[in-house]
Amino acid sequence: MIDRRSIAGKAPRPDRHVPLVVVGAGAAGVAAAIEAARAGVEVLLVDEHPIDNDMMAMDVPLCFGQRMDATVRNRAAMLERVVETNPALASVHDAGVDVQLGTCVWGAFVSGPTVQELPTPMLGLADDRRSWLVGYDRLIVAAGARDVLLGFAGWERAGTLGANGAAALLARYRALAAKRLVVIGSGPLGLHTAALALAQGVDVAGVVEIAPGVRGDAAAAKALAGRGVPFFTGHTIRAARGRTGEIESLVLVAVDADGRPRAGAEREIACDAVCLALGLAPSVELLHLVGARLSFVGALGGWVPEVDAWMRTSVPTVFAAGDCAGFHDGMLAAPGVAREQGRVAGLGAAVSLGALEPREAQTRRGVHVSAPSASAEAHGHWQAWLRSLIEAGGWEVNVCQCEEVTRRELVETKPPRYLKWDSPQMSARDLATLLRDGPVNQDQIKRLTRAGMGPCQSRRCREQVGLLLAQAAGTTLDRIPLPTFRPPVRPLPLNVLWPTDEPAAMREDWVSWFGIPTQFSPHWTAGMAIDEPTAHTRLILSDE
């Protein structure tokens, strides 16, 4: 006997099954796909660029700050640019890899303690019109890194970008709708971003740094200065200003050695975009969904997968390579590292699929190129920036743009304003009272305050919420459990997720709840049983 209202007999079937799926066509993904294909493995390489304009407008997956020009609406043109600006794609294609561009991976579904129905591990894929499922034997995640934003007064205005969002608009799409950019952060990422902007003909109105001196390479800074880029070291952001909804200037304020603003030391810089280039966070969403063990490594940008010498995660079928396996500023100077990790992961996946002898893989792998070590862990620096931004901008600045939750509301764990709730009991509760009952948990506070619950899926606030909570709780970010990532890890419309291939049984046997005939029957009479239309379950109440 099977329960027809259960999933039994209706398990999802992938549209296709591929021995190896590689997610992300950056340096790591491309190298992985080529190595595996050379070993004779059938490979599917998916990459979400060009990203759908509506998604870009939500700062997904990178922070584009509404500074895309109109060409991003032309998908055909964008596809051409993506191909043109990523010459490596041609070589992947030549290697016999099936390349799907403009395709995001929004879910990864695997068996576990509460999921036993799946015939195979599978990914949810989607383009701008439809979604589908692909089963895999091996998965290499080369998903890159996310932008890390720290808010300031006025950062909701159009023009607040992240370093990777800006880089995508500048170099990949050539579609940045901004003329004068201020770069926040003078580390390697900031200097790199400023140079990229100049190279694409965008003015750099300043590089801002809270530290007393430039943090990145002195020669690179000098070259920028030589091209007329002003450096504002020992400064933080007071506010962005402009007509409604637009950034037209940025107000800076000089800070002392502790990051505190000095009275009267303000200056206003005309600009139409502000790029936060303080660091990046590894994109570990899919790795989290497949259950790969993640650990917090400050020097690598936060939560990163634990990998072995072949970039294999704790889940034997899943590998990670490139920035999603850990990123720090110093890696900008060594683009070979991501490529090397990708090659190694591709070889490792080929070996694990039996397509390559381990000895041969070792030979092809060659001499190991080790990543440059990080000059410092990122989070202490972010925390220092955040403190200065709070000193300069106050506690009423939104930490979460989507849900309009201020820094104060977050650390006071206030219910959202739209509930219009006030009571003496509620006023007596805050983060400190919550911490009496257990350690700080970002997911719990997210649900109470709604910080991180919006359509950007907490991309713009995940790190700063964590940093603020750590600061308020007197702890450090590494001591706070990883806030979970939920599928779909891209916000997709209902009619895109819509499956066109539902088995007939899915429709026929669908009920809203278990379909137990007596479950919703009035207890006072036997004659009014609620019987959902497709009830088939026989109740086993006695041993007849």
Binding site: I7, P119, Y418, Q444, L494, A504, F520, M528, L541
Partner: protein, 392 residues
């Protein structure tokens, strides 16, 4: 490690049922301690559809009486909103919606039938596929996570205690009574014990030599980005349960469950499956005017069911200082009433406001040990992969 001070009543499980019971007891001045293996309300209690319309239940009238005043009673917001609208796309769906309404009618609540035009006025995102519906001037919905937190805080405000991240591993029995609970933080004394541990409730019943037939299952939900607020947020139909939150998100679940095994006290991840796509489709069918709206997250939860899908809420005969409570996968909405009933069972030995005869454990006295297999309520394991494409 110093063990926590004992309590008059120790509650195993900080879900919505245990917390409500604890709150009622604390309100009555009883020294109460709630133990949870994780964070309060972190499992099904805090991640369900939020419905509060169960007038068929012995707890139904009390549920309806209490919800409208619950925010004030607790001192914290539950996000409770009154009324429900049922949308039907087929004749069968309409019959089912009307059946729900009629049960309310029998209990003295008002409802009205809606034609397509009335339905579209109330719920602008329904489409021409809708054939009609029901407007229940009773029932409602609330925010599950906010509600469990409200119970927990209100319980503390009345002097009750909550110990999170504390797993109960055993029950100490002496002289026919449970005298203490063993936990990962030591042994904690108790004069009375309430077991309201969701899918794990059966494991505790086992420890007491009581057979409580329970089958755990995983169910899933999706949430969209916010859309403009509708006049009544409690709109459901097309095989979905759920609501529009006060923020504007559409939050819905339904469809096939997966029977699983919960072998121990572990807390598994709240994993989703591709069912999120099927849910998205049904939501777009229900609300064609919102088909373009984006799904921003999905989650799952574990619930347990008894063989007839009805709760077991009972003060045991042996040991007689233990109350066992499982709401059989329908516990959130009924929680103000079920908690009150449990608190009365502990204090007075019986529920003062409802006859709980229908929920007695004795109805399963003849249930065979292999009932799950017989009903097909078992984990079936992975299906063999087949060729691409649907068969429907």
């Amino acid at each position: 490690m110093t063990a926590e001070r004992g309590a008059t009543v120790v509650i195993v499980g900080g879900g919505v049922t245990g917390l409500s019971a604890g709150w009622w007891l604390a309100r009555a001045g009883v020294d109460v301690l709630v133990l949870d293996k994780g964070i309060v309300g972190w499992e099904a209690s805090g991640r369900n559809g939020g419905g509060a319309t169960h007038v068929y239940s012995p707890f139904g009238l009390e549920e309806q009486r209490l919800w409208p005043q619950l925010d004030e009673l607790l001192g914290y917001p539950t996000e409770y909103q009154p009324y429900r609208i049922g949308v039907a796309l087929t004749g069968a769906q309409l019959a089912l919606a009307r059946r729900w309404a009629e049960i309310g009618g029998v209990r003295g609540f008002r409802w009205e039938a809606l034609d397509r035009r009335q339905l579209k006025e109330l719920v602008p995102i329904v489409g021409d596929e809708a054939i009609g519906g029901t407007y229940l001037h009773f029932g409602g919905h609330a925010n599950p996570q906010r509600t469990v937190q409200a119970y927990a805080w209100a319980l503390q405000d009345h002097g009750g205690r909550i110990l999170q991240h504390t797993t109960v591993t055993g029950l100490v029995t002496r002289g026919g009574r449970v005298t203490a609970v063993e936990t990962t933080r030591g042994t904690i004394g108790a004069d009375a014990v309430i077991v309201a541990a969701g899918p794990q409730t059966g494991l505790f019943a086992d420890m007491l030599g009581v057979a409580l037939p329970l089958a755990p299952a995983r169910v899933e939900m999706i949430a969209t980005e916010p859309i403009p607020l509708m006049g009544v947020g409690g709109v459901a139909g097309n095989g979905l349960y759920g609501r529009q939150t006060l923020r504007g998100n559409l939050v819905y679940g339904g469809g096939p469950h997966e029977w699983i095994n919960v072998p121990d006290m572990a807390t598994p991840e709240h994993a989703n499956t591709p069912l999120v796509r099927n849910l998205a489709r049904r939501l777009a069918e229900l609300f064609p005017g919102a088909a373009h709206v984006r799904v921003i997250r999905a989650w799952s939860g574990l619930v347990e069911n008894t063989p007839d899908g009805l709760p077991v809420v009972e003060r045991l005969a042996h040991p007689d200082n233990v109350v066992i409570a499982t709401m059989s996968s329908v516990g959130f909405g009924l929680s103000p009433a079920s908690g009150r009933a449990i608190s009365e069972l502990v204090q007075h030995g019986r529920c003062m406001f409802a006859d709980l005869g229908a929920l007695a454990l004795s109805r399963f006295a003849g249930t065979p040990r292999d009932w799950r297999e017989r009903a097909g309520w078992v984990a079936t394991g992975p299906e063999v992969a087949t060729a691409a494409g649907g068969d429907g």
